[in-house]
Amino acid sequence: MNIYLPIAEMSANILVFLGMGAAVGFLSGMFGVGGGFLMTPLLIFSGIPPAVAVGTEAAQIVASSVSGALAQYRRNNVDVKMGVVLLVGGIVGAVIGVDLVKLLRQLGQFELFVSLAYVTFLGIIGTLMMIESLNTMRKVAAGRPASMRRPGQHGWIHGLPLKMRFNRSKLYISAIPPLLIGAFVGMLGAIMGVGGGFIMVPAMIYLLRMPTNVVVGTSLFQILFVTAVTTVLHATQNQTVDIVLAMLLMIGGVIGAQFGAVAGEKLRGEQLRFLLAALVLLVCARIGWNLVVEPSDLYSLSHVVGGH
């Protein structure tokens, strides 16, 4: 059963992409992650042009984050003020990112850049997570309770100007770090086709020291809007959002996520994190492999971008 994708300009098997959406949805439901970091590489491996994969994935992240963001918002778990500051940074970052995509496509280095970004970030996050989950497992095995330490309260961040009061997060800090974090994540999201939660959430906890209960809601809030803007920017700047492909992925994704969530409940936190870390490192290794192994054909053809 094939369907012709109007933007990717190729015929795709409906079941393959529904299945891909379901598989990634299953994993993201199980681990509670967005899944962009899995979906975008999968799309590229399956022959979707990288730029279309990134643009389309942004639309899919909107779909998968909207219900979560809304739910968190209704629970009052969103620090709207912080979210807006992050969002302002995020939109600036997305604008830069989308332009960077355009530039890199013209230079023919887009794939390289995406691959390097994936290898770097997945490598770092995966390794950290792996170490942490192994440590926790060892502690649990030794019968000691996992530590509940919260890191110290003061750092260089508190010396910056432009201080703002974030009531919901009970913070009084400079607006510069959230702006920068937002911009960085927005830019990465636009280039890598991910929501960026895996960078944003640790940054909010460890750099901004936000209370954990508002971190998830606020990051979802920011991701929802930044990916929405990114989708529009990709559509206007690069014409790389394929609605038909996005629909297939969304449908598969939401179904898979339901089953994944059920499966995730059967595993313990550190086991889940260990598996997720393994998965992240696997994707990282797979992308890295393509960079270091001699390609079967050194030559590649590409359309002239923006050459009209």
Binding site: M30, Q72, N76, V201, T231, M247, N290, Y299
Partner: protein, 439 residues
């Protein structure tokens, strides 16, 4: 299930779920500054969200918390509650969202259209240096006035009465082809023999002149058939004549890149730009091309992979490459296009059915670039070109495909907003559906 974060939707709850757990629930979020200590929920949620984690991994536990809370929340959603989604704070949320997206999209789409963060590298010519017209001349001139209707009737399976009349050149605007030149075959030299009474002429047509690309397009077959007028063949097997059919897609510019190993990584280093080359090129013949005619003749008419008209972009990109390397780049185009099924050669692809009638079938893969095609049919005998004929095939998007493509390229801002709206709708619909079926 609904025990800890809120009660199943009671009649008059309006969106704010904290009504049950926090006295500040119905205030706008900015207002509940001193965040009254939450009741039993808070510690439990904190634990669930991974409050205790030490490294960046806690983030993932936290995100896992989303799944839990979303799930929990979904369980509470009833259809009646879905209807309340757009009330009060949710409405503010949605309107705010739409405004933010709209403002930035409009700003970006309108004012910044000509402005970029980075200077764009100089773009090479997208036009073929020689031919820039999209109107093609037909090259079967002297044959037409000879009034050979009766002979055609004998040879062809009832083609349209005007089979030999020129198709109108496709209007470029139909295909969004700005900057793209359509096939520009070399005008066929009149072979002297064709003025002689009873000289052989070739006439042909394609079975489907217009191929529609719709949502279920997965490639198609183009049937080209024709007849040799004044054929002296006594039987299809006589082999007096050779037919070569060349089916060529629109000519587009292209960039070829070559990777090399830089510090252990395989990186695109050299690149070569081509101003124009056929996006699709199929060649079918009665025998291998080298048996049909001399290379000079084939080259003159762009027949065969060695003679495809691939025009490098003048001046740009070619610097620093030796002629051998340039040949490697050209070869790589042919090789990669063949791998994708876009360049096709069928040595025995054309068959004579009768003493004059021939037919061939050429496959267009699903990834074929959209646009007008030209089919050129050459009649050879003993290495000499006797006659040629050109006709067109139009390949265009139709129905939903045409709509979406035009939407995406002509109204890209609206398209982007539509994509976001679709995604938001899908997300909300999914929550609603699964909250009902899960419990």
């Amino acid at each position: 299930m609904a025990s800890d974060d809120g009660q199943p939707s009671g009649g008059d709850r309006t969106g704010g779920d904290n009504a049950g757990t926090s006295p500040a629930g119905s205030q706008p979020p900015e207002a509940d500054a001193p965040a009254p200590p939450r009741t039993a929920t808070a510690p439990r949620r904190a634990r669930r969200l991974g409050f205790d984690a030490v490294t960046g991994a806690s983030a993932l536990r936290t995100t896992r918390g989303i799944a839990t809370s979303v799930r929990r929340h979904l369980a509470e959603l009833s259809p009646a509650e879905m209807a309340r989604l757009l009330r009060q704070r949710n409405l503010q949320f949605a309107v705010g969202a739409a405004l933010v997206v709209l403002i930035f999209a409009v700003l970006k789409g309108r004012d910044l259209g000509t402005w970029t963060w980075f200077p764009e590298p100089a773009l090479p010519v997208a036009q073929a240096p020689d031919g820039t017209t999209t109107v093609r001349e037909r090259s079967d001139g002297p044959r037409a006035p000879q009034g050979d209707d009766d002979k055609r009737g004998a040879g062809q399976p009832a083609p349209a009465p005007d089979a030999a009349t020129p198709l109108p050149a496709p209007a470029p605007s139909l295909f969004d082809l700005s900057g793209v030149t359509s096939p520009e075959p070399v005008p066929i030299e009149r072979v002297p023999m064709s003025h002689v009474e009873n000289a052989e002429q070739v006439e042909a047509d394609v079975a489907t002149r217009s191929v529609a690309i719709t949502s279920n397009f997965s490639g198609t077959e183009i049937v080209v058939f024709g007849a040799v007028d004044n054929s002296r063949q006594s039987s299809p097997e006589a082999g007096i004549y050779d037919i070569v059919v060349v089916l060529e897609g629109i000519h587009t510019p292209l960039v070829v890149r070559r990777k090399s190993n830089v510090g252990g990584l395989w990186i695109n280093t050299e690149s070569l730009r081509y101003a124009s080359l056929p996006s699709y090129y199929a060649i079918a013949s009665t025998r291998p091309l080298e048996d049909i005619a001399e290379p000079q003749v084939l080259s003159q008419h762009g027949i065969g992979f060695e003679h495809v008209r691939i025009i490098p972009a003048g001046g740009t990109g070619a610097s620093g490459l030796s002629s051998d390397e340039i040949k490697d780049f050209r070869d790589s185009i042919i090789r990669l296009k063949r791998k994708d099924g876009l360049y096709v050669q069928k040595d025995y692809g054309v068959g004579f059915i009768g003493k004059a009638l021939f037919r061939t079938q050429i496959g267009l893969p699903a990834n074929v670039p959209v646009g007008p095609f030209s089919a050129r049919i050459y009649l050879f005998s003993e290495g000499e070109l006797l006659s040629s004929f050109t006709t067109n095939v139009i390949l265009q998007r139709e129905g939903l495909e045409a709509l979406l493509h035009a939407f995406a390229f002509n109204y890209s801002l609206l398209y982007g907003l539509f994509a976001v709206a679709l995604a938001v709708g899908a997300g909300l619909a999914a929550s609603a559906i699964f909250s009902r079926s899960a419990h």
